[in-house]
Amino acid sequence: MLDVSVSYNRYKFLGHEFLTWLWFLMEKDRSFLQTEVPELTSLEVGNRIVLENRFNEGVEIITIKGDDAGLEEGMLSLRKGAVVTEFHLLYTAGDHQWQFILKGESLNISNLKVPKTGEVESGRELEGAVLEKVYLFEKVIELINILYKSFIKLRISSEWKEKIVPEIRKWIYA
């Protein structure tokens, strides 16, 4: 395996491409998401999306935020060569909803809000509360792992260039 810090920087584009592909799936191929994660009811872009466009001379960062923000600027950025670097996502499974920010370069999860759980009022309740939280965190981590692993297998296959990239381009320029 490559040195960790070298591989982090050299391959962070994989995380950005993953998020860009994920946006495409959310918009155009929801059935794929449901096949990969059967318990998924919906996965949507929340109130924040960050894109990055790298030029020879520098980097352009485009941040779109707000509950009612339109994503047209994001599409325009994709047409100019940007990729998604960060998402606020809303994941629904049945009656439960998770919200979190997913950062492409690290696949770190931040601001994760899980479905409401009971308050911990005594030390004896701590164990149950921790296990309940772990179960709920696991749902999001599993979701990301399943989708990222599907992405990486696709990404290193010939299907990526032959089928997926043309479909994503078609979506970007529609």
């Binding site: 490559l2 994989l14 491409e17 047409r79 990729v83 994760l112 981590i141 990239v165």
Partner: protein
């Protein structure tokens, strides 16, 4: 950031290697050995160590109290004292004036000034309480992974250092490349393919 908070951040790690038997006693011994030390009445500026989830200010690791279901649950605590520069300056100047007045001298040389400053700094360190920061973690020993509840670079680096020192196990941060290489079930030829890929241009 606490795992029971309403909003959390998570960094995922993979752990490789195993601890000696009896497992629980080994973990307890190692946690106790690297438990946070109080520095409030001490000249130390910073302390880093393990603490317990339930009582982070009075850590206890007896009786597998760090074990919840199949998980080991404890926390990293970083205590840091931060003396404002203006406070240091005030007490330094006052101390210097006192020395000049008592000695009848007009000035102190560079070395003497530095000595006064160091002494004042040590006195202030004893007076200032440390600010504790607590970062919970969940370790699934059987599954070989850890969730560390912070994305802060410095906290993650301190965690990686203390974890390696405490348990002598290999800790690998999971990010796009390491997940692909270690966790995605790729064959050797797929891994070779992975190492060769370059960024996609989505735009035309």
């Amino acid at each position: 950031m606490g795992l029971l908070s309403s909003s959390v951040s998570i960094t995922c790690y993979r752990v490789e290697g195993s601890l000696e038997d009896p497992f629980m006693e080994t973990v307890e011994k190692k946690l106790k050995h690297n438990m946070i030390m109080e520095i409030d009445d001490d000249v130390s500026e910073k302390a880093i160590g393990w603490t317990s989830l339930e009582n982070p200010y009075q850590p206890k690791f007896e009786g597998s109290s760090f074990c919840i279901g199949p998980y080991l649950v404890f926390a990293l605590r970083i205590d840091q004292k931060s003396i404002p520069a203006k406070v240091l300056k005030k007490f330094y100047v006052l101390e210097m004036l006192k020395i000049l007045s008592e000695s009848g001298r007009k000035y102190l040389n560079k070395t003497e000034k530095q000595m006064v400053k160091d002494r004042v700094y040590s006195i202030l360190l004893r007076r200032y309480p440390a600010t504790p920061k607590i970062y919970d973690l969940i370790w699934n020993y059987e599954g070989g992974f850890i969730w560390f509840f912070s994305n802060q670079k410095s906290a993650n680096e301190e965690f990686e250092t203390l974890f390696s020192k405490t348990f002598q196990l290999s800790l690998i941060r999971l990010f796009p490349y390491t997940i692909a290489d270690l966790d995605a079930g790729l064959s050797d030829s797929q891994k070779e393919q992975l190492n060769k890929i370059s960024p996609t241009q989505f735009s035309e």
